[in-house]
Amino acid sequence: MSKEPVAIVGIGQTKHVAARHDVSIAGLVREAAARALADAELTWADIDAVVIGKAPDFFEGVMMPELYLADALGAVGKPMLRVHTAGSVGGSTALVASNLVAARVHRTVLTLAFEKQSESNAMWGLSLPVPFQQPLLAGAGGFFAPHVRAYMRRTGAPDTVGSLVAYKDRRNALKNPYAHLHEHDITLEKVQASPMLWDPIRYSETCPSSDGACAMVLTDRAGAARSPKPAAWVHGGAMRSEPTLFAGKDFVSPQAGKDCAADVYHQAGITDPRREIDAVEMYVPFSWYEPMWLENLGFAAEGEGWKLTEAGVTELDGDLPVNPSGGVLSTNPIGASGMIRFAEAALQVRGQAGEHQVPGARRALGHAYGGGAQFFAMWLVGAEEPTS
């Protein structure tokens, strides 16, 4: 059977900040959705269904917030789905929305992901005590730091690589008006001198905690033909999951990530991702995940990812720009972070990324992961309608 080609014709984000005291949760999501609609030059009436995602409900203290947000997102009288796949949720949410169009169940779908972390305290939200279960070891950094250390030992990467990523992403963020952190005085020395939080992860190599939302309008071929601006086309999308903890799990390069990327490349007809992909929006909440994911996603051979970073390949003007938007390291409304990756990849191939545009980007990868590096969601978008 043939699938309907899926086009991204509208993208909207909020300016991500530490605390949006001026809007409610409903106000925040509506702002992003309204911007996506304006970008697509569509109205609420053009939307057939709404797919919303966010990370744990405890982050805002609202159980199943899609119920409360139905009005703000113009969903009354429409189908509304709420996706939750941990940190990968923003990506998964976009994929669920994309499938609605691909399956020809709906023609035009609004998808949105958000987190308003200032409503509560994410650290506490993640640290609710449950008897007989391992706590999350003082936040996500505590969980992931040993895996970063394992990567360094396994590959022999010099301990300077992490700071290069953070320095690059924070400079890229200066070109992105929606990014949370705009550190105009950033220097490599400042990153390297920042306090050690979870050895080997330094303060400036970690993501901030943001309030923000991201929305996209996805539509079918006919919808794309009416779109006033260039569309981005979905060439491949996939999700993969594996268990949290089990003997034999490779936390440095999880099999689920490799399988997910392989599926997406297969769908998109990509055989050499390093040459055929022009920009990558990668989920890098801690700087060392850039070289780690470069390997996991097939951009570098095992043990070689850090060499691409060190050689400047992943810089905005390198030949494989990674996180031209500034990435999760500069902006992290957790539940939205995956969708921002997907949306920024689409902006690149639409040629709409402004100052952080990668010149001539035709194919871009959006990547998200979550849980204990166990949930993966990715899509590959292109400037042209897919041929198959």
């Binding site: 139905a70 499938n99 409503e119 996939a238 999700m239 594996e242």
Partner: protein
């Protein structure tokens, strides 16, 4: 031409016994036997399933990312194509059905679960409400349902004795359901919140449900009498109770229209009506004739594991088709206070 690109059927359904409390069981321990049972019914292994989707709620589990642990019960190794909705499992089934419609999967495992026993579910559900203006007042789930029930009585749509009859019929029917939590002549009890008595309200309990979906000929291979999903749709309404006519459910009616419920008579209806009064609303919205068998499983008044009770309605309707007891059934799931969000599916057996 069929309504959708692919024929998709429920080919297996399994559920746990629904119990008032399961202190001795973790969620993984609750889920695993039901997953094994539903897969065994098809002969498929977890690794042979094309797509897996679950539904649950962190607020019931009392911890963030609770579903990540339950995934371990699936045995997701080698890695699987998988997703999760923070909704009743009926919506997980919807996501899985869409996935099969894209052609990216031919089979799907759908499961959902909830343990309401560790906390006060009446209070927990209060956290679903508008967090700035309503939730701080802690109007609980039974109080909101009572508001709806009183609106129905005031409108002349029902009365307390008719509501009591719904409860009595549900628990009498549940006699034939070995998984139900409340069975037989359970007294209607005292008022919880007027006009609702204990018997008008769902029991608090823990439970799991799982379904396997399959497409086309594969469904015929896996199941002697597949329950074809010939239509499925869901709709949401405004959140604020003041913006809604609580005596009606336009979202159910709209979903039913899109699912094709009104195109031919149904013989069975499995309605997710946690309160007796909500059955009155749903019967009207779905235009059910008097001869339709409603909730032969006992429905949500006999067992109401949060997040699974909607998926159970689809499973029970499918199981009747599997047994040859139904030809065309409607299954319904709800979410949110006073029937805010509703899913409707039409399930049909092959013409015989």
């Amino acid at each position: 031409m069929a309504r959708y690109a692919r024929e998709v059927a429920v080919v297996a359904f399994a559920q746990s016994d629904h119990l008032r409390r399961t202190d001795e069981l973790s969620e993984v321990e609750m889920v695993m036997p039901v997953l094994h049972q539903v897969l065994a019914a098809t002969g498929l292994k977890a690794g042979e399933i094309g797509f897996t989707c679950s539904g649950s709620s962190d607020y019931l589990a009392g911890r963030a990312f609770s579903f990540t642990m339950t995934l371990d019960g699936v045995g997701a190794w080698p890695p699987i194509s998988e997703s999760h909705v923070e909704m009743d499992g009926a919506w997980a089934l919807y996501e899985a059905w869409v996935k099969i419609q894209t052609g990216e999967a031919d089979t799907a495992l759908v499961y959902s679960y909830g343990k309401s026993s560790p906390g006060s579910v009446r209070d927990v559900l209060t956290r679903q409400l508008d967090p700035y203006y309503v939730a701080p007042l802690w109007p609980d789930a039974v109080a909101l349902a009572a508001l709806q029930a009183q609106a129905l009585i005031d409108a002349g749509e029902t009365d307390e004795s008719a509501l009591a009859a719904v409860g009595a019929r549900s628990r009498a029917d549940a006699e034939g359901n070995p998984h139900a939590q409340l069975r037989g002549p359970v007294p209607q009890g005292d008022y919880q919140v007027r006009p609702l008595r204990t018997g008008d309200c769902p029991p608090v309990g823990d439970g799991v449900a799982a379904v396997v979906l399959a497409a086309g000929d594969l469904a015929r291979q896996l199941c002697e009498r597949p329950a074809w999903i010939t239509g499925i749709d869901h709709r949401i309404e405004a959140h604020s109770l003041g913006l809604r006519d609580l005596t009606d459910s336009p979202s159910t009616r709209l979903a039913a229209e899109h699912a094709g419920v009104f195109e031919a008579p149904v013989d069975t209806a499995e309605l997710h009506a946690p309160f007796s009064s909500q059955e009155v609303v749903l019967r009207k919205a779905l235009g059910l004739a008097d001869d339709v068998t409603v909730n032969p499983s006992g429905g949500a008044l006999a067992a109401h594991p949060m997040m699974a009770a909607g998926l159970i309605r689809i499973g029970e309707a499918a199981a009747r088709i599997h047994r040859g007891a139904s030809r065309r059934a409607v299954a319904h799931a709800t979410s949110g206070p006073c029937l805010q969000q509703n899913l409707v599916a039409v399930l049909e057996g092959d013409a015989r």
